[in-house]
Symmetry: C2
Subunit: 453 residues, 2 copies
């Protein structure tokens, strides 16, 4: 069986999907403003066999029908939150293999500034940077930024224009061999190998050179997680890793297959997109004991905070709906992963489930060996490439995984200590450090892939 890809799902906030769990006695996420918290976590993840840390992010906070409920502030539901990019260099300095995938929105960042930030991170991490491309639907962010809310499909049109310009900047301005750093001849770079970018898109215009010289990966590894039709198309066209949403093997298998079909339709090779699913784990001497541990953790969820959290992400106030209404009948703009996952359920069940689980989908319980076996079966039966591990408490849940589950996974050949020159090559061992020739970014390169690289 092939080894899995393993990421840690993180956020620069005090609650990670389980709203209220910041108060658990074992929880240290209230130290999120402390650099030591992150540095220690990065070291632990690398030791535990994780390939990358994924840092979710969004500006804003739960705000519905013109109000933010007091529970949002009281339980720190998505607010306070800090910038995730600022964490990376300190963690990169104490690790060698761990990669860092950071979220940045195509709705609220500027593509030139964003490309320079990611190029800088890819330089400083020596090719261990990833970009989780998101669009922003929360109206409150428009109010914070003084912009007009962008309708769903237009958000993706804007996202495509954003990444098209990003490709030109990251791949099309400096040739791979433009930088010489030849002190003897006093030539830093060859002007003949640096070219102006010209972009006149529907949303963005740019004329000139890219400020950053090429980093090891040039473009950071591209992540995406949209569940809507438009979101899936965008992912199949642009992403290298797609974050799936499913609570069982059947749902995941459907999505893995869907990603394969769409990727091929986009003219990219069948294996050119990796799929990962969210995963939480609790181990004990028996499954019953692990279930008791789960209950004890989830007791810390604050139901009102969880409902506000759902509202923030969907614009839907669960308390105002008929409990017997089918979730599939809800009118949304189609972007909501959180609505999509409950499309077969009624409001009553969806509410109860969301309060209990937040965004957690797969929760595996049992002895370490049982958990490792379940992970193996999931990968086998779905074609999934790996997992985004979501802790209950930090650092405890990571320590538990590193000490108990990882050895069982290694024994089963499911986890390896990857040694690759770049994050992209860790994910795609048969490829090079750059986006492959089958990726749309190749079209903006001046030197065809394979001639100088």
């Amino acid at each position: 069986m092939k080894p899995i890809i393993l990421g840690a799902f993180e956020i620069n906030q005090v609650n990670l999907t389980s709203q209220g769990m910041w108060a658990h006695p074992e929880q240290t996420t209230h130290r999120y403003t402390d650099l030591d918290h992150w540095v220690d976590l990065a070291v632990l993840l690398e030791r535990g066999g994780f390939d990358f840390m994924f840092v979710a992010d969004s500006y804003g906070y739960p705000h519905m029908n013109g109000i933010t409920r007091p529970v949002v502030i009281e339980q720190a539901v998505e607010v306070p939150n800090n910038d995730p990019m600022m964490l990376v260099s300190a963690m990169a300095a104490v690790t060698e293999r761990l990669a860092f995938v950071v979220t940045a929105s195509t709705t609220h960042e500027h593509p030139y500034a964003n490309a320079r930030r990611f190029a800088t991170l890819d330089h400083l991490t020596k090719g261990r940077a990833g970009w989780n491309m998101v669009t922003t639907s929360m109206e409150v962010v428009s109010e914070l930024f003084g912009t007009t809310p962008v309708p769903h499909d237009e958000r993706y049109a804007r996202a495509q224009d954003f990444v098209d310009l990003s490709y030109k900047l990251l791949e099309g301005s400096w040739d791979d061999d433009a930088v010489l750093v030849d002190k003897q001849r006093r030539i830093y770079a060859d002007p003949a190998k640096v070219r102006e970018v010209h972009h006149e898109g529907p949303y963005f215009t740019c004329h000139g050179y890219f400020d950053s010289e090429p980093s090891r990966q040039r473009t950071p590894v591209l992540f995406q997680a949209g569940a809507s039709e438009t979101g899936r198309s965008f992912g199949a066209r642009n992403a290298e890793v797609v974050f799936l949403h499913g609570r069982n093997a059947q749902m995941l298998r459907e999505q893995v297959d869907d990603v394969r079909v769409r990727t091929v339709r986009e003219g990219r090779g069948e294996g050119s997109v990796r799929t990962v699913a969210g995963l939480s784990v609790l181990t004990a001497s028996s499954r019953a004991e692990a279930e008791r541990r789960l209950d004890a953790y989830l007791d810390y969820v604050d139901p009102a905070a969880a409902r506000a959290y759902f509202g923030a992400m969907t614009g839907i106030d669960l308390e105002e709906l008929d409990p017997d209404m089918a979730m599939a009948d809800l009118t949304t703009d189609g972007s909501q992963t959180q609505v999509h996952r409950y499309r077969h359920e009624k409001v009553r069940e969806a509410t109860a489930d969301f309060i209990r689980h937040g965004m957690r989908e797969l929760i595996l319980l049992g002895t370490p060996t049982q958990v490792a076996d379940q992970m193996g079966e999931l990968v086998e039966s779905t074609g999934l490439d790996g997992f985004l591990y979501t802790p209950f408490v930090t650092p405890g849940s990571y320590q538990e995984f590193a000490d108990d589950v990882a050895p069982a996974l290694r024994a089963a050949g499911l986890l390896e200590h990857r040694q690759a020159p770049t994050f992209r090559q860790a994910l795609f061992p048969d490829g090079g450090p750059h986006l492959p020739a089958s990726h749309p970014a190749d079209r903006v390169r001046h030197v065809p892939s394979g001639t100088t690289r």
Copy 2:
């Protein structure tokens, strides 16, 4: 005599004002993409008695009359350049006192995103963050960002609106005592002490909470360096540290006095703004030997690269001007520090001087004791508070300063090992961690200064 404030002038590029000096055999700035380069530098600066690292920055590169000359790329004149903010957390993790002042433009960043980035840095550094507030005049950046160039005075109107909103976000949304982190009572923050910001300015609109909880300093220490009338007014109104431009005691004294007069006129206390000037130093067993060392360094300047650099910052092509023309007769939009400093000279002299010195203004030569004495005399005769030390080569110039000049300064009582809870308190030992009540930001606080802090 009171100890000086000492900063290091840095940039996330290969040339630091002397265009071409990247190729000097002792120079390691071509390693600017390597995190170890920065981590080692931060450790060296802290050991050497520096209070802060100042990182200059601008998007873009020299581009005049529609072209970028090949020498710009060949000698790396301002390009390639990487984002400076990404460097901070790694350097903060290996230092305890050193502060980090990062440049961000009010012309091209978004105030909400910018405030969250700086709040995050102030958290991660435990109150060691500073913001060098700049406006961007280079037309090439407008072309890169797809925006319309903003005329000079309007840039400052926009800058004022930008900082007015920043104050509301950083100082007016969360009260100092809003965050409780009370696990026993399960209360993270008190909703009654978090308030929505409402801003409808001429350039920016914002309604809602600020995402970040208060950091130690709340607002990072505010730096500014404008030489124009509008720039000086902006600095006197908003800045806590002003970077002056002058090549002798008289020029500096005039500016120090000007800052004092303007600060008082703005209703702020006389000592509420610190002044620093750029400084380069070369030591040897004699002044003559130090001069020979200076010549040997400046031989590495590439004249064509230096002229392109001047053109980038001013829009003025020195090669096309009558050498006998007075620099004061040049029509510029009034913003250019680089033109202002040559206002008493002719084009011929200005060109020759700029090629040799770039943006270096004070260059002190002699034995370590002679240099320390000259620094003391400058401070004494001008009222200047300190210096921004600009190296010729890295790390050599810093090592030289730390090993030779710093001990002589300490012996003269001019340098102290500052131990303050925050960067602001290192600069203003009689004040607190936050902007004082006399600063305009105080007006947007909900709880008057002094009641809870």
